[in-house]
Amino acid sequence: MVTTLKLFTLLAVANPQAASEFHDNRRKVYSAFKQNEGIAMSTAISDQIANEALKIGNLSFQSRLIIGTGKYRSHDEMKRAHAASGAQMVTVAVRRVPLDRSSESFLDHLSPTLQILPNTAGCYSAEDAVRTARLAREALETDLVKLEVIGDQTTLFPDNEQTLEAAKVLCKEGFVVLPYFNDDLIMAKKLLDAGCAAIMPLAAPIGSGLGVQNPANLQIMREQLPEATIIVDAGVGTASDAAIAMELGADGVLMNTAIAESKSPEQMGRAMKLAIEAGRLAYLAGRMPRRLYASASSPLSGVIK
């Protein structure tokens, strides 16, 4: 670089026009090199990600990020965050229509290209969750349901027993069930035996932003259930949390608060998209083993004496 600069300075003094041409050519060559490299890299990487589409039921998604629609400061902010995140599926909640006013449909604020995943949030029994899922199916004409049966108001931890009971009923009724549950391998197996299309272990309490609290459990789940579709749901706080979940082998991540409650949901949506892709690629690439001690990267021989 020093040499180039010197040459350029000499040229500039001797012949300003030649110096200008020299500078332009260098810029063209460098720019072409960067572009070619960029195209080649991004094509290979996007091919790799595309070949590994996330499959849920008979649906296929290029994005492994599923995001919520709650807590945004405005509909416009939500829409921009959704677009920036590249997510192709979003969750919505089922609630009573207010009787005192004519309300517009919240769904009108979602891009029509998005797959809607209704949830059973707020249900504390298998019975209520099943009723909610049936209502959602009737209204949206989708078999997809994010099954959520809460066991406690403070932690919003799932009631695994009620969740399993509801999952059995819904799977028999032809629903494509995605249950939120504690990160427990045995529970995961039971949910899969019941016929769930994917399993959604929590990373941390809903809306806590604590990130993956028990990476070992997720890793065990991945290793023991290699065929299962595992989507980490709840507890992600920032991009690195999502990347960690994916690096551990999750097939996808579902999140809401991390994006909605950030200062710029649009930027965080984009950050999450990149984190999910980075984490997925790192998982596919296979990380190096952890070592307690150093391992030199430069050859040990041939050092000057």
Partner: protein, 66 residues
Amino acid sequence: MQVYVNGESTELTEGLSLADLITQLDFPSQRIAVEHNRTVVRRSQWDSTVLADGDHIEIVHFVGGG
């Protein structure tokens, strides 16, 4: 007759159908679902579902959620 709509006690005229109730409440009827005594009623059955005293109706739509 008295019917419970979304938990609220509502006075309605005898012989009202579910379809009549929805019209009367002036909801946008798209992308909502209705339960009659804890059973989902398909849209095609709204007309033929006649309400009775003491019935419980749940009418739901979608809101933002995670």
